[in-house]
């Protein structure tokens, strides 16, 4: 949707989904934060009824906040790297005084009393939170069809899914309703919708961005991720929200580089591995051709391409679907109807209150995963399932450690197919799980990975290229991605909204 919404001032357009441009324009006084917020809100009003990217939009608060930012900017206040930039936040990230539903009926009216650390960082940087985006319930899904509220549609084909679980965030940026968005990625939930919607999505290293306030799905896999329309914009947001946090004991005590610095520096000589396990027979032919083209383009940039092997990749989906549900079964125990969230009316007794509140409050996929996870942790089954899954996870991580001794980054597809049709996989959970095959390993290994647009299918559907790196190498991934889009920009077909 690049260029769909433009604000004209001094005869230069400001695109609502170009964060760096907005930042510069507001700084130079060419445009006000309020005007930007108003334009974003207008775009949401126009486009979102058909797309369904948002669960909650807060127009008054966003405009008021934008006006505050304008006052600060006019008074010469510095240190506001995101001044006036409209940001959408996935609805599983806590926002103070703003409903945070996780796409679930059980939290339909839950309003957090605190901000997630990442959201607080956004506010401190002068960003304007415009609203909360739709997602699969608690992040469990690959299509945003598992939202308790509505499906989010792909702006390139309204009959197709946006991907998931951060589908709302991807569509918000893709359709020009927000300049940047926060998502979360437990098994591909930022990269896959980014790939389906022709935007950039980065899942940072585990622990790079504080998880405090991110509603837990699978704690050892969850990371807050970023969706933007360019690697540059993603770098801008990442540099602002990343860093150690005393509220998150698993956040990395590693300094965060300025990812914008040297973003355009050439990548000549960068060693790129191509894992052969990611090019299995399940990979759609057209997607494969697009990725092959992208690999050739990388050689044009001076990258040295070589085939590598991550031998334990075939076990990754099975491994993931033990570990993630096991942790989820525990993380979701707190939704019991006692203190907050949905409680079934007039329960007979305590067990009845739990049973009916959770039966009605959770959707089918969430309940399926709670059951799988509960089983996997049960006495007598723990070693066979969870215990073994943790061992396989170590092997997967070791695969990456070995391969990154020989190459700097990896390139691979994000998803075996482009965006599929709404309803196509809803009755076949296994087929849905298999669509995560190329993304879950990065979460199991804790390494950073991103998706950058690299082409369209003949049917006009976007395809993303996945770039993976070793721990804390986000800057390298973003630099490679920025070089790629500088040299091989993708021309999007005409949008439908």
């Amino acid at each position: 949707m690049n260029g769909k919404t433009r604000l004209w001032r001094d005869s230069k357009p400001v695109k609502i989904n170009d964060a760096c441009d907005i930042r510069d324009s507001i700084r130079s006084g060419r445009i006000s934060a309020e005007e930007v917020a108003a334009a974003a809100l207008k775009r949401i009003e126009e486009a979102d009824p058909r797309l369904g990217a948002f669960v909650t939009v807060q127009p008054e608060q966003a405009l008021a906040r934008a006006r505050e930012v304008d006052v600060k900017v006019r008074s010469g206040q510095t240190g506001l790297p995101l001044a006036g930039i409209p940001v959408a936040v996935k609805d599983n990230i806590s926002t103070r005084h703003l409903k945070t539903t996780c796409g679930s009926r059980i939290l339909q009216s839950y309003v957090p009393p605190f901000n997630a650390t990442a959201v607080q960082a956004l506010e401190n940087a002068g960003a304007v939170v415009i609203g909360k985006t739709n997602c699969d319930e608690f992040g469990m899904g690959s299509s945003t069809e598992n939202s308790a509220f509505h499906v989010t549609r792909n702006p390139f084909d309204l009959d197709r899914v946006a991907g998931g679980s951060s589908g709302g965030s991807a569509v918000a940026v893709a359709a020009g309703m927000a300049a940047l968005a926060l998502g979360s990625d437990t098994g591909g939930s930022v990269r896959q919708p980014a790939s389906f919607c022709n935007v950039v999505g980065i899942k940072p290293t585990y622990g790079r961005i504080s998880r405090y306030g991110l509603v837990a799905f699978a704690s050892s896999l969850d990371v807050i991720g970023i969706i933007a329309s360019s690697p540059r914009d993603a770098a801008l947001l990442l540099s602002t929200v990343a860093g150690p946090d005393t509220c998150d004991s698993t956040s990395a005590r590693v300094p965060v580089p300025d990812c914008l610095d040297g973003l355009d520096r050439p990548v000549k000589g960068l060693r790129v591995g191509v894992p052969r396990e990611f090019f299995d027979p399940g990979l759609d032919h057209e997607v494969k051709n697009i990725i092959d083209d992208a690999l050739r383009n990388a050689t044009v940039l001076g990258c040295e391409i070589e085939e590598v092997s991550l031998p334990h990749t075939p076990y990754a989906v099975a491994d993931y679907y033990i570990i993630a549900p096991a942790e989820a079964s525990s993380n979701l125990a707190r939704y019991d109807g006692v203190r907050y969230g949905y409680r079934a009316p007039s329960p007979r007794d305590l067990a009845d209150m739990y049973f009916r509140s959770r039966s009605r409050g959770f959707g089918a996929e969430v309940k399926r995963r709670i059951m799988i996870g509960t089983f996997a942790l049960s006495s007598g089954y723990y070693e066979a399932y969870y215990g073994r899954a943790m061992k396989v996870r170590t092997l997967i991580r070791q695969d990456y450690e070995k391969v990154f001794k020989g190459v700097d980054v990896l390139m691979a597809p994000v998803s075996p197919t482009p965006a599929f049709r709404i309803g196509e996989k809803t009755d076949d959970p296994l087929a849905m799980y298999l669509s995560d095959i190329y993304t879950v390993t990065a979460n199991l290994a804790g390494i950073p990975a991103l998706s950058v647009p690299c082409g369209f299918t003949s049917g006009g559907l976007p395809v993303g290229l996945q770039i993976l790196g070793s721990h804390f190498e986000e800057a390298t991934l973003l630099r490679l991605a920025q070089n790629y889009v500088n040299s091989f920009p993708v021309t999007a077909p005409p949008p439908q909204v």
Binding site: P113, F114, A116, C247, T250, S330, A333, D336
Partner: protein, 491 residues
């Protein structure tokens, strides 16, 4: 012939650590705050919150593990214990499971039978095994009674949620309720000395569950064990164990079988009864807590903790015996709490008379404290003032009997011995001329008794002493009076 059975008992003790804030958040641990006042998003288990480990709690747990001679794990792991209950907001308790902080410890306990007066007879020193010690967070409190609409509703108070605990699990090393009692007493004392727990069983800062089984004496195989919960005082522990041991023996003797179950102590009925089995049919689905990295203890930290260990009660009692020449009963009694031991020692040092100090502290002071419902911490009479009183007696300025009256006044008003003696005019009369006059008056007023005495009824000496004391309002110096009186009677 009936079989002789032996009990096998193990104790699980939960001790609340005396940290200012909770185990995983900054909330206060203060007891008695208004319901749910000491809570925050973290201990309320709101969506998206994460635990951050309290370093002070780790330090206290470490001190405890070291004091109990445990092998301290350089790396221990927190796990989640999953179960549903309204006072457990996250639906799991963060606890240490398969890699606890400390293991393989021992606690040596002075034990033995007690006579009816509470004196220890047949004293023995026994060493009991500590299987493990681990850290965990407390749950909240469900309130089912005492609220206006308790008939239809239950309430939850989450002030206690997340308060740091150590769980200390003994080996099944006790063979009688007395041994279990002595162990718990000694463990409590140790925790008090370490300053890591206030030991208050009524407020629940020290809680005890017991595992009990019986087996024919001399056999190795363990019987089926029963867990008893709700043992919230030392007395209940002993009563419940005695009841349960007896019940199990009777059951077996009658040809029955012991069922593995959890029983509760019923204070009013003086018996144990089975908890509903539904509540104990738990599969806790333990797994490593992904929100907390493994707890790694720097060797320097462990060394520093070792160095900072205070005198523990046994060492203190032994020191009291050797340094101050106290008997074991007195030494044990005076070391029952660190404050009491400290009080005694200050008094003994300042007065230079440990024997008298011990008597005062265990006698009049203990009595006065008990009567005024105070603990030693709330004692209105500082140890140095009591020491001054001891010195007044030792210097002969007042008699022992007068000292008791002076003590009472000092305890009541907080005044010094000097002030009280002066105010009451209680200075002892040692002046021979003055006393001789009084003696003469007494002798001439009691001619019959005098004649009887001189005829050989020497027991009447006490009578004359009493009369002189009455005349002098007790202020006569007893030693001087005795000598003088005997002289006069012999004349």
């Amino acid at each position: 012939m009936s079989i002789d059975y032996q009990a096998v008992i193990g104790l699980e003790v939960h001790a609340q650590l005396l940290t200012k804030s909770k185990l995983f958040c900054g909330c206060s641990t203060q007891f008695g705050a208004p319901p749910n006042a000491n809570t925050c998003p973290v201990c309320l288990g709101l969506p998206g919150v994460l635990p951050v480990l309290n370093r002070e709690a780790v330090h206290m747990a470490l001190l405890t593990a070291l004091a109990l001679n445990c092998r301290v794990s350089p790396t221990s792991i927190f796990s989640r214990k999953n179960y549903f209950y309204p006072d457990l907001p996250k639906g799991y308790q963060i606890s240490q499971y398969d890699r606890p902080l400390g293991e393989h410890g021992r606690l040596t306990v002075l034990s033995g039978e007690r006579s009816e007066t509470g004196k220890i007879v047949n004293r023995t020193e026994k060493s009991f095994g500590i299987r493990r010690i681990h850290m965990e967070e407390d749950a909240g409190k469900s309130i089912h009674e005492g609220m206006p609409d308790s008939a239809t509703k239950s309430y939850v108070n989450l002030n206690r949620t997340g308060v740091p605990l150590v769980e200390i699990v003994s080996e099944p090393d006790f063979t009688s309720s007395q041994e279990a009692y002595d162990y718990l007493t000694h463990l409590r004392k140790t925790l008090l000395y370490l300053g890591v727990c206030d030991g208050n069983m009524e407020e629940g800062s020290l809680r005890c569950d017991a595992n009990v089984s019986v087996r024919p004496r001399g056999t190795e195989e363990l019987g089926t064990k029963v867990e008893i919960k709700n043992l919230n005082s030392f007395r209940f522990l002993q009563m419940a164990l005695d009841y349960e041991i007896d019940r199990q023996i009777r059951e077996i003797a009658q040809g029955g079988r012991i069922v593995q179950e959890t029983r509760l102590w019923d204070e009013a009925g003086g018996r144990t009864f089975p908890m509903r089995s539904k509540e104990e049919a738990h599969d806790y689905r333990y797994f490593p807590e992904p929100d907390l990295p493994p707890l790694t203890l720097d060797p320097a930290w462990i060394e520093e903790a070792k160095r900072s260990l205070p005198d523990l009660p046994d060492a203190m009692a032994k020191r009291f015996m050797t340094v101050y020449g106290l008997g074991d009963d007195d030494a044990l009694s005076l070391t029952s709490t660190p404050r009491l031991a400290g009080y005694f020692e200050e008094c003994a040092r300042a007065s230079g008379n440990p024997r008298a100090s011990a008597n005062w502290v265990m006698g009049d002071l203990a009595y006065a404290l008990k009567n005024s419902g105070r603990s030693i911490d709330e004692c209105p009479l500082p140890a140095d003032r009591l020491a001054a009183l001891v010195q007044q007696v030792d210097s002969g300025r007042i008699s022992g009997r007068m000292a008791k009256a002076v003590f009472e006044e000092m305890y009541r008003t907080g005044a010094s011995a000097e002030q009280v003696i002066a105010a009451l005019g209680m200075e002892q009369v040692s002046d021979e001329a003055a006393l001789a006059g009084v003696i003469d008056r007494v002798l001439s007023a009691n001619p019959k008794q005098l004649a009887d005495y001189r005829a050989g009824k020497e027991k009447l000496l006490g009578y004359f002493v009493g009369q002189v004391m009455k005349e002098t309002k007790g202020q006569a110096n007893p030693a001087v009076l005795n000598t003088l009186l005997k002289q006069k009677l012999a004349e």
